[in-house]
């Protein structure tokens, strides 16, 4: 790795100051992607600003019917949280299926969401559940947050302090994991929300996470396994790589959607 300066931020103000002072400073969460990227010289931050020790960044709470997860809460903490298991069990199960146990002890929800990897699990959950990303500056709805490969609506110096999830009627996530990386080859999140049925797909889109209109139409008409399997999911705009062609992924989207509906 190239040399970098490490800062343990004591507060949001402290973090913002350190981010502004560094020539090319980056926020450090669990580092499960960033450190690997730095080793490959694909990232070379002048400064790393660790936000995990800032008060209020870790933990799960309820604000009325809204589930609030601190930005630096680890996947393991989300997976084992009684509040998450009760409020949205699908979210606890999703967090418990990210990477492997050691990765889940370090990786954070804020880090995953800010990175917006096209095969990450959390973006599918946020978009399907109609979550809100809370930063030190504003609140951003999931519909406006994810903006293509590794791109989000976050500005420079903007720190994810929490993610808020409304309660939904039913939700489930099914993932076909790429066995070496454990990232989603295709992951589908289905939810019955106050705004109707929402179905999101990760791991497959050329532009990252997206809502599947075909599956939303099919599942709005009939919330069933058969309906998901019969949906008209197109291969247009889907990735093709050594792990699977676009047509294969299109079929897998229907299969994962059917499994998710069955589990909901």
């Amino acid at each position: 790795m190239y040399p970098t300066k490490y800062h343990k931020a004591a507060s949001i103000d402290d973090a913002v100051k350190a981010l502004g002072a560094g020539e090319e400073a980056m926020i450090l969460g669990g580092g499960q992607t960033l450190i690997a990227t730095m080793k490959q010289h694909l990232a070379a931050p002048s400064d790393l600003v660790d936000v995990r020790s800032i008060e209020g960044m870790v933990g799960v709470s309820l604000d009325g019917d809204m589930l609030v997860i601190g930005g630096a809460t680890t996947h393991a903490e989300v997976a084992s949280s009684k509040e998450v298991q009760k409020h949205t069990p699908a979210l606890a199960r999703l967090a418990g299926g990210i990477g492997d146990p050691a990765v889940r002890h370090a990786g954070t929800i804020g880090g995953s969401v800010a990175n917006n990897d096209p095969a990450a699990d959390y973006p599918a959950a946020l978009l399907a559940l109609g979550a809100t990303v809370v930063t030190n500056q504003r609140e951003i709805g999931a519909d406006d947050f994810f903006d293509g490969l590794f791109t989000t609506a976050l500005d420079e110096g903007e720190i994810i302090t929490a993610v808020k999830f409304p309660k939904v009627e039913a939700a489930a996530y099914a993932k076909f994991a790429q066995p070496a990386s454990l990232f989603a080859l295709v992951g589908v999140f289905v939810a019955k929300t106050a705004d109707g049925v929402r179905v999101t797909v990760t791991g497959a889109g050329d532009e990252g996470v997206f809502r599947s209109e075909a599956l939303e139409v099919a599942l709005t008409a009939d919330w069933s396994e058969a309906s998901a399997k019969g949906a008209d999911v197109s291969a247009d705009g889907l990735m093709s790589d050594i792990h699977g062609a676009a047509a294969y992924r299109a079929n897998l989207i229907k299969v994962m959607a059917a499994r998710a509906v069955l589990a909901s």
């Binding site: 490490y6 450090l28 580092g31 690997a36 393991a76 492997d100 050691a102």
Partner: protein
Amino acid sequence: MTKVNMTVNGKAVSRNVSGETLLSEFLREDLRLTGTHIGCDTSQCGACVVHINGKAVKACTTLAAATDGADVTTIEGLANGELHPMQAAFKEHHGLQCGFCTPGMIMSGVDMVNRYKAEGRELTAEAVRHELEGNICRCTGYHNIVKAVQDAATKM
């Protein structure tokens, strides 16, 4: 350089580290605790698993500076006069061939047994295999590793 103070295997240590120093490098090169192995160095293989504040993490994907104030346990810190039950079970069940992955397997094994016991869940053979997703044995000696972890679970 950042000054770090931490407890490693019960002993207080204090060193200056550069921001990019990995915990795996720090343990092996600064503290000469070479039991923590570096296999893939890409967070896939799990040979570098150590415990930070009682939780298994990959030392090759952790910054030493970020572990300031932490309680770190490596494979060297597990035995207490005699082998830890997990180590004894790996010996008894021949849970290793070349031995390169073993420190990470044992640290992950202890972590999973502790978690399952705390949550009152049964650690089945299937669960052990699932929990070992982040630990790779290139000798492919998984059967005896699973037996060893399950046996140790009855003695921990």
